[in-house]
Amino acid sequence: MTVIDCQDLRKKYKRMAALDGITFQLKDQKITGLIGRNGAGKTTLLKILAGFIRKGSGDVLVFSSNPFNNLRVSGNSILVDDQMSFPDSLTLADILGMAPDFYKRWDTELANNLFKYFKLNPKQLHSRLSKGNKATFNMIFGLATRCELTMFDEPTNGMDEAVRSDFYRALLKDYIAHPRSIMISSHHLAEMEHLLEDILLIHKGKVVFHQSLEEVKEYAVALQGTTDLVEKLAAGKEILHTKQLDSQRNYVVIKKEEMPVIDGVTTQPVSVSDVCMYVTSDGKGGIDDVFK
């Protein structure tokens, strides 16, 4: 089943294009990482999918309908982000008490257990939570809704290290128990990479690739060796990134293809987060080039 279907989705703010022709499809019950640099359009995409904002042009279908002003989409999806707000007159306990009325699959037990585990104060008001606790509460809320499409936008912002790993673990365990479509956007790809099945990489409002994690791992290969040898080997191939070490050079080459084994050049795999970083960097050089 297709949960999300975007065809050439565009969205403009004022005159700036936030989404510039997004096309992808999301099959159900996968954890997908929405990766991209700041300003790539991740948040805009998620908000359109959640029905918070109107699409520009193109098509967007969530559960086969346009999410904007759609009750079925709203009832079966949730977007957890740091802008989530709850009435000031309700305590956290009140909010958790109201939620089952809205979300038919709300898991009260999970919500209460996580709430206790993270030692949140039930009498606290949402607006007075610290940044980290707010993120924790939102995460609990998002998980407990059990929505068929659960989206997290930078969920770990403000959380400390221990809570982050607890969050990822909780997410995975709940996903295993109740498989559903989960989308997470984050800067910290490395720390959640193991959770992901697919990666949707977007850059400047466009989809760079939408592949499984393993495919991304095989996406690129790094060559390290003496400059002339490496250059010869990389000639004619798409160079994603170069880095001068000393008298040697280090190249990253797109499309891991069969390389002849040459003495003096070692081939290394490139981590997923590095792949994403290199692919979305505008120049072919790195920060070192600035200091040349």
Binding site: S89, L90, T91, D94, K123, L125
Partner: protein, 234 residues
């Protein structure tokens, strides 16, 4: 009521609006710093509703010192009765007087042939006097004092306003007006007066019946009546 006066009436309200707006803003800033829990709010609500209900019950039990407000129908009736009485009075038809208006009656044996009527205490005497001349040869004067309905906004003024005192000497009738008195009443209204602003004047007129004190004398024809204060109604 013309539209202009309506505007004038609403302008102070606009100033009021502005003040309340400022007040609400202030209030919001203050309440931002108070943790209004749901429980506290609910308690406040219950206490307030309780107070309202208590007030309704308490109001029923507070003793009245005014009459019940008379219904518009009653006012019309009062007005009619006053009118009929007045006409009878003007026409000297003593027999037609409604006996319920009778307040006092007395007779007086005069010494001389003159009867002097004097009004005291009030610049503008409000009593109305009429004389029916009789053929009697005696010195006897019959006097009757009547008072017609006086109602205003439901208050029976007849009860609240003291009667003029009547003093009778050998050949004098001295009417003394009651000493000046100030009466203040609260009138509670269920209606929004803003909405009834147009017909309120009429309504107010309708709720007002002013009666008079009438003095009806039966005097033998040979008696000379001196009415220097001009009480007599002709």
């Amino acid at each position: 009521m013309s539209m202009d006066t309506w505007v004038v009436a609403i302008l102070p309200l606009l100033v009021l609006l502005f003040l309340i707006w400022i007040f609400l803003r202030l209030g919001r800033n203050i309440t931002k710093h108070i943790n209004w829990t749901k429980r506290l709010s609910k308690w406040l609500l219950y206490v307030y509703i309780g107070m309202l209900l208590l007030a309704i019950v308490a109001y029923e039990f507070i003793p009245t010192n005014g009459d019940k407000i008379a219904a518009p129908k009653e006012y019309t009736m009062f007005k009619n009765e006053n009118k009929i009485f007045q006409q009878a009075f003007e026409n000297n038809e003593g027999s037609k007087f409604d006996s319920k208006f009778l307040v006092e009656e007395w007779t007086q044996e005069l010494v001389g042939d003159t009867l002097e009527i004097i009004s005291k205490g009030s610049q503008f005497p409000t009593e109305r006097l009429n004389i029916e001349w009789t053929d009697s040869k005696e010195q006897l004067v019959e006097a009757k004092m009547y008072k017609t309905h006086s109602y205003m906004d439901g208050i029976n003024l007849g009860e609240e306003i003291p009667l003029s005192t009547v003093e009778i000497n050998d050949n004098q009738i001295i009417l003394t007006a009651p000493s000046p008195k100030q009466l203040t009443y609260y009138l509670f209204s269920n209606e929004l007066s803003v909405l009834s602003i147009v017909d309120s004047l009429d309504a107010w007129e309708q709720r007002r019946v002013i009666g008079y004190t009438y003095i009806y004398l039966k005097v033998p024809k040979h008696i000379n009546v001196i009415d220097k204060d001009g009480l007599q109604f002709y």
